[in-house]
């Protein structure tokens, strides 16, 4: 054993390695991403690791490994489980041979997500047992127990952590590599009565699963992490039940107070016997939990089932907020109202004067982000026309902010294309645009394009290809030609995929070549059917500026166009409060501002090539001289 200061997700990864995991698959998503990244970094070649193209693929790859008897882990964020729900629902009926853990990171708040869904509820729905850690150290131990449990009962298990555990850090005693379990397995054994799902098998296994889960409710009452803290309890009539990151908040707020406290580590199947023994003798119980009232409902049910006269309080009774993340203040406030805990006074201790208005600081596209150039090109080209800009999930969702205001809808991964199609069928006179990132295109965009193409939609697909999965921290994807282990593989070409579907007009343009970008959009929006522009320019985080732009104060006429229209964080007001200035610590030399300045007062940016940009591009793509009229107009028809 040795001690390491670890992020929760790193601890989960090291725990999985210590449990002898043989295969790990996943799709990036905050707050889950670092689990797979850490495994890729810290594992030997004996562990197979991949970034799958989406969570459904990852789930199926992991299931295959577990069918062979291997230990498998699949990682995703909560909304990723929606994508992977089809295989998971059926997999529970089939079961596994090797231990299989489905790591799902929930995001109360939500801090970086579309929904506040609770994977504990998903566990109940899919009948899959759920483990819920409270801290970094707890997660390290629990993931190892989860593998044993999965293998013992032949079921996948969900390991559900939330942001404050995933992204918390703690010094943890972890095993040395020599202490890791080596999991050997026999391989896949053919048996169609076991591995092929048919209605007859489903009804049989359904019955067995329900029986097993009733038994597990009993077994899990003895799981040491489902625990009652009796030392706090003499004569107390009030109890607290909590889970996850809320449990330490409860302990911090209670201090030395006299209360009975129970931790629920396996919300499903619910540790029934333990919970009933906890309730006995109590008059009132407060359930301190985040997202859904899972514990509160379970306890209310048990009170009915066993005829216990205990008042159960929590979200359903309005004692705990029904939405959002719980903070230490919310928890201590709720305990105080419940009659427990008064040692933590959270009022502003100094009674300070009202602070000046705080800056409004939503996340924005980085300085020099090529997405800004793409959005601005489309906005400029389509000015005055009836349009809809359907956005998608990724950094480019931030295109919604002022001054760009280029994201009219955003729903879930890949949805923008379908939404643009639906709007077109109802409003054929609207110019419909769907923006999708490169990683999102591979995750769930391709089938949407086929649907739109097949069903005769008229829309412009704009692929924002920055050659990485940027929002989650720059993971590789099929278009990058690199795997998570750094292996160089054949790239999947977005352009060729689109052409293979049958799209007649597909053009790849550098969005930082503003004039060409605008001209391309203007021309292409007149083409019939589904057409695609691939705006290709690498994310600023994976490139280095050669030189930064500079404003010539002699030439600047203080019109403010660059600042007002681009909203680039590197464009600020100079000392005189009128003329523009470049913040050199942020500028990446993208030259977009140079190209839109009406008096050419900005220059010197480093990404500017010597030759005119479109010539350079033509040279790079080995394009031949235009021969036909169509080609002269710039199209790349095949």
């Amino acid at each position: 054993m040795h001690k390491e200061f670890l992020m929760g997700n790193e601890a989960i990864a090291l725990g999985a390695l210590a449990a002898g995991v043989n295969l790990v698959a996943g799709y990036p998503g905050t707050p889950s991403t670092e689990v797979l990244e850490t495994i890729a970094k810290r594992s030997t070649d004996k562990t197979y690791v991949e970034w799958s193209i989406n969570e459904k693929s990852g789930m199926e790859v992991a299931a295959g490994a577990a069918y062979a008897g291997a230990r498998a882990l699949v990682t995703m964020k909560q909304v990723g489980l929606n994508v992977a729900s089809d295989p998971l629902m059926s997999l529970e009926y089939i079961g596994v041979k090797g231990g299989m853990v489905v790591l799902v990171a929930d995001d109360p708040g939500p801090i970086s997500s579309q929904t506040e869904q609770d994977t504990r509820t998903f566990g109940m729905f899919s009948k899959v047992p759920v483990f819920d850690p409270i801290s970094v150290r707890d997660a390290y131990e629990m993931i190892q127990e989860a593998f044993d449990f999965s293998e013992k009962y032949g079921t996948p298990v969900i390991f559900r952590a939330t942001t404050r555990v995933d992204h918390g850090y703690e010094a943890v005693e972890v095993k040395d590599e020599e202490e890791y379990l080596v999991h050997t397995f026999e391989g896949f054994v053919k048996d169609s009565s076991r591995w092929v799902i048919f209605p007859k098998l489903s009804v049989k296994n359904h019955g067995l699963i329900e029986k097993r889960n009733r038994e597990l409710a009993e077994t899990l009452s003895d799981y040491p992490k489902n625990q009652i803290l009796p030392e706090n309890a003499p004569g107390c009539k009030k109890g607290i039940v909590s889970q996850g990151a809320n449990f330490p908040y409860v302990l911090d707020a209670l201090g030395e107070k006299n209360a009975r406290v129970m931790r629920v580590a396996t919300p499903f199947p619910f540790p029934e016997r333990l919970a009933v023994s906890f309730l006995e003798g109590l008059e009132e119980v407060l359930c301190v939990e985040e997202l859904d009232p899972v514990i509160e409902r379970a306890l209310t049910f048990l009170c009915g089932k066993y005829g216990l006269k205990v008042k159960i309080r929590g979200k359903l009774t309005g004692d705990i907020p029904s939405a959002g993340e719980n903070s230490p203040e919310i928890v201590s406030g709720a305990l105080q109202s419940f009659g427990l805990g008064d040692n933590v006074a959270h009022a502003d201790p100094e009674n300070r004067e009202q602070a000046p208005d705080l800056p409004v600081r939503p996340p924005v596209l980085c300085a020099g982000c090529p997405h800004r150039a793409s959005f601005y090109a489309v906005k400029t080209a389509m000015k005055g026309l009836k349009t809809i800009y359907c956005g998608d999930i990724g950094c480019y969702t931030l295109g919604n902010a002022q001054p760009l205001d280029m994201c009219d809808t955003c729903l879930c991964m890949g949805a923008g294309i379908g939404i643009a199609q639906g709007v077109y069928h109802m409003e054929p006179d609207t110019k419909c645009f769907a923006f999708v990132g490169d990683s999102t295109f591979f995750a769930s965009g391709i089938t949407e394009v086929i649907n739109a193409f097949y069903n005769q939609a008229d829309l412009t697909l704009v692929v924002l290809d920055n050659s990485t999965t940027a929002m989650t921290g720059h993971q590789p994807h099929p278009g990058t030609g690199r795997t998570v282990k750094g292996q160089v593989v054949e790239k999947v070409s977005i352009e060729r995929v689109l052409r293979a579907i049958g799209l007649q007009t597909v053009e790849t343009v550098d969005p930082l070549d503003f004039g060409t970008a605008v001209e391309t959009v203007k021309r292409m929006q007149h083409e019939p059917g589904v057409k695609a522009i691939i705006f290709k320019s690498p994310c600023i985080a994976i490139t280095k500026p050669v030189a930064k732009s500079k404003v010539d104060p002699e030439k600047c006429i203080a019109c403010g166009k660059c600042i007002r229209e681009l909203g680039c964080p590197a464009l600020i007001l100079g000392e005189d409060g009128k003329r523009a200035k470049i913040d050199v610590s942020l500028c990446t030399g993208c030259t977009l501002c140079e190209q839109i300045c009406p008096v050419h007062a900005i220059s010197g940016g480093g990404k500017k090539e010597e030759a005119p940009r479109h010539d350079q591009r033509a040279k790079e793509s080995k394009a031949e001289e235009p021969k036909t009229e169509e080609q002269k107009a710039g199209g790349e028809r095949i």
């Binding site: 933590v344 996340p363 924005v364 001054p403 909203g567 680039c568």
Partner: protein, 190 residues
């Protein structure tokens, strides 16, 4: 010893590395430490914070309001945003240099960084204002603001760590070619 420390700023300013340096220094002294970080969307120029709890007794990495011994603000407005977390007589170390949000630049919101510094000077007795622009000029780099602030935090006496602890952490975590600059940054304006 037990200390609750909040680091705050704008995504991209280097709060997470500063938090890791404090953690390394604590690990070196075998002090228990819990931290929580903002990772995700807010890293794109949004408000970010790190909570750091050093010493025994804390169960959660999240610091309750009114219980921080020290706030290290990488940006004046962000320091004011976190001020409700400061305990009575707690200390604040803050960079004077404000970061204008895009919304203020394009006239959709208002922000006056100097007003934030004036407010802190009025409300916080134990305040250290760090001239980030001067530091960048004298050090020849604006990239080590995080270490400059940590140096000022050591000298405020509220970090609970000494200069040699942080020097050791820098040696562990910073690449060789940046080490000399970081060591100079730590003692800037000492």
């Amino acid at each position: 010893m037990s200390k609750n420390i909040i680091l705050c700023g704008v995504g991209g300013q280097g709060t997470i590395l500063a938090s890791r340096l404090i953690a390394s220094a604590c690990m070196g002294k075998d002090l228990p430490i819990l931290t929580a970080e903002t990772i995700g969307m807010a890293q794109r120029g949004g408000s970010v914070f790190s909570h750091i709890r050093i010493g025994k007794g804390a169960n959660s990495p999240m610091i309750p309001k009114g219980q921080a011994d020290l706030i290290i603000g990488f940006e004046p407005g962000e320091a004011v945003r976190q001020l409700p977390f400061l305990k009575k007589n707690g200390a604040v170390v803050v960079s004077k240099r404000s970061v204008m949000p895009v919304s203020a630049m394009i006239g959709k919101s208002k922000y006056d960084g100097d007003a934030m510094i004036r407010y802190l000077q009025k409300e916080v007795e134990h305040l250290t204002v760090v001239d980030a622009d001067l530091a960048a000029e004298e050090l020849g780099s604006s990239k080590t603001l995080n270490v400059v602030l940590l140096g000022a935090a050591i000298r405020s006496g509220e970090l609970g760590l000494e200069e040699k602890d942080l020097v050791k952490a820098l040696e562990e975590r910073v690449p060789e070619r940046f080490l000399e600059l970081n060591k100079r940054s730590l003692v800037w304006n000492k």
